[in-house]
């Protein structure tokens, strides 16, 4: 059986290298037959694509998509550099 650390590393590499995602900052954790994705992306579609690529890279694991979609806020106050 493949060690969970290698499975997580393989999924993380897939998320970075797959043409559908190219996302570098996603944390991947494997516990038993569960795989957890965590991190932040800018859109719901990207979050779904990441889960899809993870499922394909680790088809025997149940993928929990805990990736957060960040809402961009309006620019706040300026910083004065004196």
């Amino acid at each position: 059986m493949e060690a969970p650390q290698y499975v997580a590393a393989r999924v993380q590499a897939a998320l970075a290298e797959d043409v559908r995602t190219h996302e570098l900052g996603i944390r991947v954790d494997v516990r038993g037959d569960q795989l957890f994705l965590r991190g932040e992306v800018s859109g719901a579609e990207q979050r779904e694509r990441l889960a899809q690529v993870a499922r394909e890279a680790a088809p025997d694991l149940q993928v929990h998509n805990e990736i957060h979609v960040v809402e961009i806020e309006r620019p706040g106050e300026s910083e004065h550099l004196d």
Binding site: G25, S42, P75
Partner: protein
């Protein structure tokens, strides 16, 4: 005393599915800032299609726009074509060179480019061993030398360095320590400290920290969009 207001953001990672969405955030930017600086990773995969989306989002803004590319923008080996698309849309794209822009009577010099990694003083790669390692570090060193020269050559009232990779580790806090060498290099900060500048802007480190300072006391701001959590930050440089 007049302030020069610099809007800055990096890592906007645009694609066809979010076309038009970032532009909405730039409405009214001319009331908040005199110039917009974009610190690389404009696209996700570095395709020409994504480059065109970015060009359309930044086209025709009422203030000057200066940008550098990031590692994502290099992924499809179309960095020159993407830069050309942006230039056609009126964006000034820096590639290890500099420009002087007239901003409200102030001559603002901007120097920069993508930057690169290697790590930080005492915990970094060096030009030793295999050719791959030497090339990696040499790439960063040559970039740093180009920036230092460009800063020395520029005649301006205020000077800002725009990078994608980080020049210091302070603005990386929040990122795993193990990947610091892939997030930036102290050679960039050393070059800027030697030549002098008023502010360094960078992106790349999505989990990093906004504010830091070089060993020489130059303010550094990590303006990666996930760090800011807002459409852009505005930094005001005091100008006599």
């Amino acid at each position: 005393m007049t302030d020069l207001r610099i809007a800055a953001v990096g890592d906007i990672h645009l694609g066809e599915d979010v076309r038009g969405q970032y532009r909405k955030n730039l409405d009214g930017i001319e009331e908040r800032a005199d110039i917009l600086m974009v610190a690389g990773d404009l696209t996700r995969h570095g395709t020409l299609e994504e480059g065109r989306v970015v060009a359309d989002e930044l086209r025709g803004l009422p203030i000057p726009v200066v940008a550098v590319l990031g590692n994502h923008d290099y992924h499809s080996d179309l960095q020159h074509e993407i830069a050309e698309e942006l230039r056609r849309a009126g964006v000034i794209v820096l590639d290890d060179d500099g420009v002087v822009i007239e901003c409200g009577g102030i001559r603002l010099g901007v120097v920069g480019g993508k930057g690169f990694g290697g790590g930080f003083a005492g915990k970094c790669a060096s030009e030793f061993g295999e050719p791959e390692t030497k090339n990696f570090v040499r790439h960063t060193r040559m970039i740093a030398e180009a920036w230092q020269q460009a800063l020395k050559d520029i005649d301006a009232d205020r000077r800002v360095v725009l990078s994608h990779y980080a020049p210091i580790k302070e603005t990386l806090e929040g990122e795993p320590l193990e990947i610091y060498p892939f997030l930036g290099s102290y050679l960039l900060a050393e070059a800027v400290d030697t030549a002098g500048a008023d502010l360094i802007l960078h992106g790349h480190a999505h989990k990093g920290t906004e504010k830091g300072m070089t060993s020489g006391g130059i303010r550094v701001r990590n303006v990666a969009l996930p760090v800011l959590g807002r459409a852009y930050a505005v930094y005001c440089l005091a100008c006599d």
